[in-house]
């Protein structure tokens, strides 16, 4: 294979370059974690705040349904693997995250509504931030371990 960049590259420099590129990419892939966590926390808090007023339940329910349907549609179009590298940079990625944020409060709303168990709603809504932390962690866990950075 002809190398178009026939310039001498020391092994040390090459290793350093590879390590820098790996770290930069890994940092970029992980950079969404604080934002996801913040969104999760804010979403959970807002959801808890609006749980009890009856009219909001309908609004949240409809919004969640639309978000889920739209995100699934976009998710299928874009391909899931892109979301692993750049979950927050892509519309589908954002919507999937929003859908996940809504799904649990909606489940809580249903349980709370039909069982009169408001605590189930609160617990599920509060569980959301934990889930939003766990998903990025799972993504990172699947990232290949550092090669150049050992």
């Amino acid at each position: 294979m002809l190398n178009e960049e026939q310039i001498p590259v020391s092994a040390n420099d090459a290793l350093m370059s590879a390590r820098t590129a790996e770290d930069a990419m890994r940092q970029r892939a992980r950079s969404m974690r604080p934002l996801i966590a913040t969104n999760g926390l804010a979403s959970g808090a807002i959801t808890v705040a609006v749980l009890l007023p009856e009219p909001w339940k309908f609004v949240v329910g409809v919004g969640a349904f639309l978000a889920i349907v739209t995100s699934v549609w976009l998710f299928q179009r874009s391909g899931s693997r892109r979301l692993i590298a750049q979950p927050g940079q892509h519309v589908a990625g954002r919507l999937v995250l929003v859908a996940v944020m809504f799904m649990f409060p909606v489940a809580g709303l249903l349980i709370g509504t039909y069982t009169d168990n408001v605590w189930a709603v609160v617990v599920l809504a509060l569980a959301l931030p934990v889930i939003m932390l766990a998903i990025p962690w799972w993504w990172e866990r699947r990232l290949p371990s550092t090669v150049a950075g050992k």
Partner: protein, 108 residues
């Protein structure tokens, strides 16, 4: 991991491309371009040999009439990259701080 120097990967930009892709499952063309601070054409030129060698998968997806290109390091590419890094490590270990050029590497 068996050390194996790989000329396709060793070119500076290609090494950075494979290194960046090794850290994720896949990445947008634009993400790699920005990371390397190169133009689209330069990145395309560098990705082509990697693709031809079976190291990188180039996937084009049409979203709202826009074509988005994703790059993925294949299993073969990942193995080659790891082998190449291992070879570089062996070279640096054997030669200490001495500068190791491409020509020296090819002689080994």
């Amino acid at each position: 991991m068996q050390a194996a120097f790989d000329e396709v990967i060793h070119a500076p930009n290609r090494l950075r491309i494979t290194a960046a892709l090794s850290a994720v499952v896949s990445a947008d063309f634009s993400a790699i371009r920005d990371l390397l601070s190169v133009s689209d054409s330069v990145l395309s030129k560098q990705v082509k040999p990697l693709s031809e060698a079976g190291y990188v998968d180039v996937t084009k997806t049409v979203i709202n009439s826009h074509v988005r290109t994703s790059l993925t390091l294949t299993v073969k590419g990942r193995k080659a990259y790891r082998g190449h890094i291992e070879a570089l490590r062996e070279l640096t270990a054997n030669m200490g701080e001495a500068d190791t050029t491409v020509d020296q590497i090819s002689e080994i």
